[in-house]
Amino acid sequence: MPASTFPQLLLEHARARPGAAALREKEFGIWQTLSWRDLEALVRALAHGLAEAGLQPGQHLVVIGENRPRLSAAMLAAQCLGAIPVPLYQDASAAELAFPLAHAEVIFAVVEDQEQVDKLIEVRAQCPQLARFWFDDGRGLRNYREPGLASLDALVERGRAHAIAHPAFLDEKIAALSPESVAAMFFTSGTTGHAKGVVHTHRSLIDRARAGATFDRLTSAEEVLAYLPQAWIGQNIFSYAQWLVCGYVVNCPESAATVSIDLKEIGPTYYFAPPRVFEGLLTSVMIRMEDASAPKRWLFDRAMALARRVGPRLMDGLPVGAGDRFLYALGNALVYAPLRNTLGLSRVRIGYTAGEAIGPDLFSFYRSIGINLKQLYGSTETAVFVCSQPDHEARSDTVGVPIEGVELQVTESGEILVRSPGLLKEYYKNEAATREVLTADGWYRTGDAGFLDAAGHLKIIDRAKDVGRIAGGAHDGALFAPKYVENKLKFFPFIKEAVAFGDGRDKVCAFVNIDLEAVGNWAEKRNLPYGGYAELAQKPEVYALIQDCVQKVNADLAADAKLAGSQISRFLVLHKELDADDGELTRTRKVRRGHIAERYAVLVDALYNGKTEQFVETPVKFEDGRTGKVAATLKIMDAATYPAVEKAA
């Protein structure tokens, strides 16, 4: 009978392949390796330490920080004791931490470094129950005299001592664990309102991890780079649940600044990133290629044109002419393979994008250069794996077929319901919310609108509640799918974020965030002087540039009768980047449309009552936590829309 809890999985690996690498961390210039044996020892010590410190089964252990071996180990240690690890976002402000800490009655925490320690000390007032917390990296903490603060080293030491005193203790604890016991809790930043604690059992997480692993035939030979927050269930599944299920190697980057270098060095075989990462990557590719010599540009462009034509077909195993095959092979030798190498994606066998819909061109770019990029569908509540795309059936507009153990149904309102062994147990201390999403007969309401297409692939249009209708105007009653529109805009390298409005209005209008790097580079090429983000954003040339993008999108939308109504008639370019610290984005960088609409009400009104410019002043929060105001007068511009093209049916 296979191990059914995470601690058991750990022990299994440590027994089966003690010497094999479990975790690698780039530290002091080389990849310091932790074998399964070392890991077990570390986890045992930590578990004993925590036990001695008084961590009880069912209690929560908060974990905050970048991906670090000892933080993962701490989560395992907590699970050994039947306690519940709760990873939180390391870039959350102290204030944002207060709620989860209080809500989950957190007494113990393990954090990465001084930055996190300072935050905890700051919120202690609001969360008096927070008794003890340990740090991984002691830089700058030498002279802290905070009660309850200690280093992980100290914890490990105490743990070792405790272990000697109570040799049998831990194994009993681990044996006592049931698959049904709670394994972890994840706070969904939630596009609106307070965060909710999603409670998962060992069974639910392991079941989904296994399902995903079998679906993609993952082995213990995979290499994974853990560079996204553990608090995001995506990262957690890939670099924790599946890590323990498959026993592959998880690698932790040296620092935020070196991720791209580390990515190249490791060359992961199993890679995953939200669309924004792929966007950023592609943007940088395009920018770097702009400086290339003419012949190289020519070669690159030709190769890319070819790739767009043949690449995806090859990926999908469709028939391709011998001539094209040869050319593609040539292109592969000259461009695609080197490109994959410089991106650090040479060895990617399975690549996933999740968390958000991805622009079609963006998606096919990666597939066309021979990276097996696929989409999957799922959420925190479903432990990620609901649908996933089989290797040869990746489409940008679908999210794949339901995988092993998943039942789907679509309500008449178009909302998708899911039933699988991976569903959340409940929202922590939130009966109401739980009842909202979990039906009596065990279905989970995803809140997404979509449908299964002819091929049996699930197609998501938007959040069910966001899908709206145009009221009045040329396209009265037409369907309005804001996310769909925004994604189309965001595919342009120049556009970082976009927010579209239009539900219950006579036309669609949009806010646009320019991408400083891309537009800045563009401006320098045309030697436009600019003082900063705000100034650059308001340059007429930039407006013209963005207008062009918007109209391209409109032309696209017009091509599909169902969505023609979503064409953007007016837009403005925001003077500041939408920022999670200002609550404009979620921690996973989804735009919080409602919040933005309130925050920038004046702008929205201006868009609709035909003004050509509008003054706006917004409070902002700076990195160091200070707050201030930024004010600017924003231009507003019209964009051409096109008549819907009726498809010849």
Binding site: F28, G29, I30, Q32, L34, R139, R142, N143, D153, T258
Partner: protein, 280 residues
């Protein structure tokens, strides 16, 4: 993580048990008595005396051309003062060459970067470890055990410094191609690599923007704090120094015109005069 564990520089990070050895000002470590220095006829320093206590941050300030750098050059043996004596940890010396000074635990950085342009960040900082290297030339030539082991061990220490100064991303870039602010860090790193008891900083913030200055201040404080290193730093603009230094010496035209804690010095009329008298 075997290699990660045994780092001389790795910070002992158990805050519960460490009784903060750093930041406790100790006895006099450097004692400068009546130093006078002249180039040909030009008097650079006249009868300068001051002392530096263990673990303190001691600033030497003064308008440009006040003789600050000359003072530093005397302390670390680049110049030989004509008169006066310098006592390092009690032992007095008149004529010590740079190496002897270095060997007795004094390191320094330079005002206008004196990095080894042709070498990578790693190698530049590695040179700071040379005093600690023992393997002979033959062992090095064939990379025999001792040499190889030593190289790795020293590399580990240097990596600790690179990590400390947050320049991991530049490890193997040639210093010549780096931004000025980062080169300053490398210069600091090279000095740190000597694990000095006394660290001389020659205008560490010269030509930096506000942000870089803040970083540099943080590093200086951290060094003093984490490693308990005594620091003597030279600056010509008072602002930055006053916040981070324990005591300040003020030079003007090669003479000492003030000495004491920042707020005492700031109040000193002579100092104010000297500064108002010189354009910035």
């Amino acid at each position: 993580m075997s290699e990660a564990m045994d780092a001389p520089l790795a910070v002992a990070s158990d805050a519960e048990t460490t009784a903060a050895p750093a930041r406790r000002i100790g006895s006099v470590i450097l004692d400068v008595k009546n130093i006078s220095l002249a180039f040909g006829g030009v008097k650079a320093l006249t009868d300068i005396s001051f002392d530096v206590r263990e673990h303190e941050i001691r600033a030497i300030i003064g308008p440009n051309g006040a003789g600050k750098s000359s003072m530093l050059n005397c302390i670390n043996g680049v110049y030989q003062p004509q008169q006066g004596s310098i006592a390092l940890r009690g032992q007095t010396f008149r004529h010590m060459n740079s190496r002897q000074v270095a060997a007795s635990g004094v390191a320094r950085t330079f005002q206008n970067l004196a990095l080894f342009k042709g070498m990578s960040v790693l190698d530049n900082i590695m040179t700071g470890r040379n005093l600690k290297m023992r393997s002979n030339i033959l062992q090095q030539a064939w990379h025999w055990g001792a040499a190889a082991r030593e190289e790795a061990a020293q590399r580990r220490v240097v990596e600790g410094i690179i990590d400390f100064l947050e320049i991991q991303a530049y490890r193997k870039t040639p210093v010549g191609t780096m931004p000025y602010g980062l080169q300053k860090r490398v210069d600091l790193g090279r000095a740190l690599a000597m694990e000095p008891a006394l660290l001389l900083l020659d205008e560490p913030m010269a030509g930096m923007n506000v942000e870089e200055k803040q970083d540099m201040c943080r590093f200086i404080l951290d060094i003093n704090d984490e490693f308990g290193t005594t620091i003597v730093l030279i600056e010509h603009d008072m602002g930055v120094v006053m916040d981070i230094s324990d005591r300040v010496v003020v030079l003007d035209y090669g003479r000492k015109i003030g000495d004491g804690t920042p707020h005492v010095v700031r109040a000193d009329p002579n100092v104010i005069a000297a500064y108002l008298g010189t354009p910035h």
